[in-house]
Symmetry: C2
Subunit: 316 residues, 2 copies
């Protein structure tokens, strides 16, 4: 029973997990969808009510019946490395590869269908509500009037992007930014803005959920600090216990969202962990490095388990 | 309680359904996501464990709490009509619009997450197996050797695209094509091929499923005809009853796939309905026109019902 890792070639975090999997003796296949067709060959046959499929990479053959789990970790675009790439070849290759994998019954970390849904930030806030997390008041709008009203009501407000920074090379940094009530909000009409009440936090919290295992880490924030991802404050991540109530909410959230892996970001203020976001493919290498928490080992163990994960149903 | 239709402006089929909805007196809002931001304004507020949202189009305001159902019918790309469109503006607007709609609890025809999954043709074949349909032996492969072997075994084989014809303007027709065992299969290595045993059909069957209502139509095929979508044989679509066994499989399929609407294509041979594909957004206007089956009315009724559809869960 093999673990399939869909990843691009240069991926240090995947290397960490692969090393752990090798230790457990579980066979591993690594595939960059960009290498299909080419280095990789696939076949899926549907006959007489049955299904048989296989995938081979560099001559190593994997039968889909022998597929234990799939880790979707930074896969390339299907057929991107083809001699004559095209949107149509990508579409056809995506159909073949994911059609094959969806036809089997591996455990997914995470199922692409649930991952897509989990990327919607406003939906995250709603699921966070339903899971019992504390969520800072938030508004997403294209109405300058409502944006102005929200900023006036909450005084200290941050603005951030819902989908992430604009694509481009070089990548543009777009830190979460504190704005005042006197800001000119007229531009909101041209593109939706996400406004959130500023949390005067004492620390950033990163909580990584791997199946049922939780790893929380805390990094002290400088007074008035807004976006912990930018700038070095000299503080390091330190492992902290997970409050029971937060743990309960995390399990509720990943069950509602159908996720086997999730990285939660919180802002800690007077002991309250304010939910900021949940990244279904959030990095964990930096946390493991600073705290020594065995996250890559937990990922490897989850992937190597045999039993089906009933939280991630196969067909719906 | 309003019905929201996500559609581009020129859409005759949507017009048919809107006319039926007007008759029932149910309020309807029509939105092309391409018109957001611009003609449309949205706002989603997450505060104190609660969620409030609204959407307004041309001054008509819809509260998300008053949203009954959403019909995803040919929506344009979010922000496509903006004065300065960009991939980032589209990504941000998609987050805002679908984040808002996912945060409510409307009934979906169909939920975009399930729709995306349902487009995978190889997965359709697997779900068809599991639902008890007869499925012609099919192979999807990038291996010329296996393609050759499949063609030799089944003698009469058709080749078709999994994702549809290549995008482009003018659109390229790509009919399902009969090929012989002497075909040169070497090109299969450059892009996956979908091969299927040819069914010497007596008729094409289109079965439209709207909630729990089924509408089957049959069109006589000329001997040796391969792809019923191209060329006029002079035969028309005629309403036919749904065999009990097929109906059972249809209900099983839409339950597994989480679909409220689905258009099934079958090839009829000696009374057997061979499953070819299930299009979750398949057209129904042409069938209604020729058979008089009240499909647009059924869609309007489904959209105007109040009760939640437990087959399409909100969060997973």
């Amino acid at each position: 029973m093999t673990v399939l890792i869909l990843t691009s070639e240069e991926d240090v975090t995947a290397d960490m997990v692969v090393a752990k999997l090798h230790k457990t003796g579980v066979p591993v296949m690594r595939l960059d969808p960009a290498d299909l067709p080419g280095k990789a060959v696939l076949s899926a046959g549907y006959s007489h009510g049955d299904f048989k499929g296989h995938l081979s990479v560099n001559g190593h053959v994997l039968s889909i019946g022998g597929l234990r789990s799939v880790w979707v970790r930074r896969p390339g675009e299907p057929a991107a490395h083809a001699p004559h790439p095209s949107p149509w070849l990508t579409a056809e290759t995506r159909q073949a590869l994911f059609g094959l994998l969806y036809s089997g019954s591996p455990r997914w970390m995470n199922h692409p269908r649930n991952a897509d849904q989990a990327r919607l930030k406003p939906w995250q806030l709603r699921v966070a509500h339903l899971s019992g997390f504390a969520v800072p008041p938030t508004l997403i709008t294209t109405s300058p009037r409502l944006a102005r009203q929200f900023a006036a009501e909450h005084e200290n407000v941050v603005v951030k992007s819902a989908s992430g920074p604009p694509p481009g090379d070089p990548a543009l940094a777009l830190p979460t930014t504190l704005i005042g009530p006197d800001t000119d909000f007229s531009g909101v009409a041209a593109g939706p803005a996400l406004l959130q009440r500023y949390v005067p936090k004492h620390a950033d919290i990163r909580l990584t959920c791997v199946g049922t295992r939780l790893f929380a880490a805390r990094k002290v924030a400088e007074p008035g600090q807004v976006d912990g991802r930018y700038g070095d404050t000299g503080h390091a991540w330190e492992a902290v216990p997970v409050p029971e109530r937060v743990g309960k909410s995390v399990y509720e959230y990943v069950a509602l969202a159908g996720l086997a892996y999730a990285a939660f970001d919180f802002a800690e203020e007077d002991g309250i962990w304010w939910f900021l976001e949940c990244n279904q493919s959030g990095q964990f290498g930096f946390v493991e490095l600073e705290t020594g928490q065995p996250i890559s080992e937990a990922v490897a163990l989850w992937l190597s388990q045999r039993e089906a994960d009933h939280r991630v149903p196969q067909f719906r």
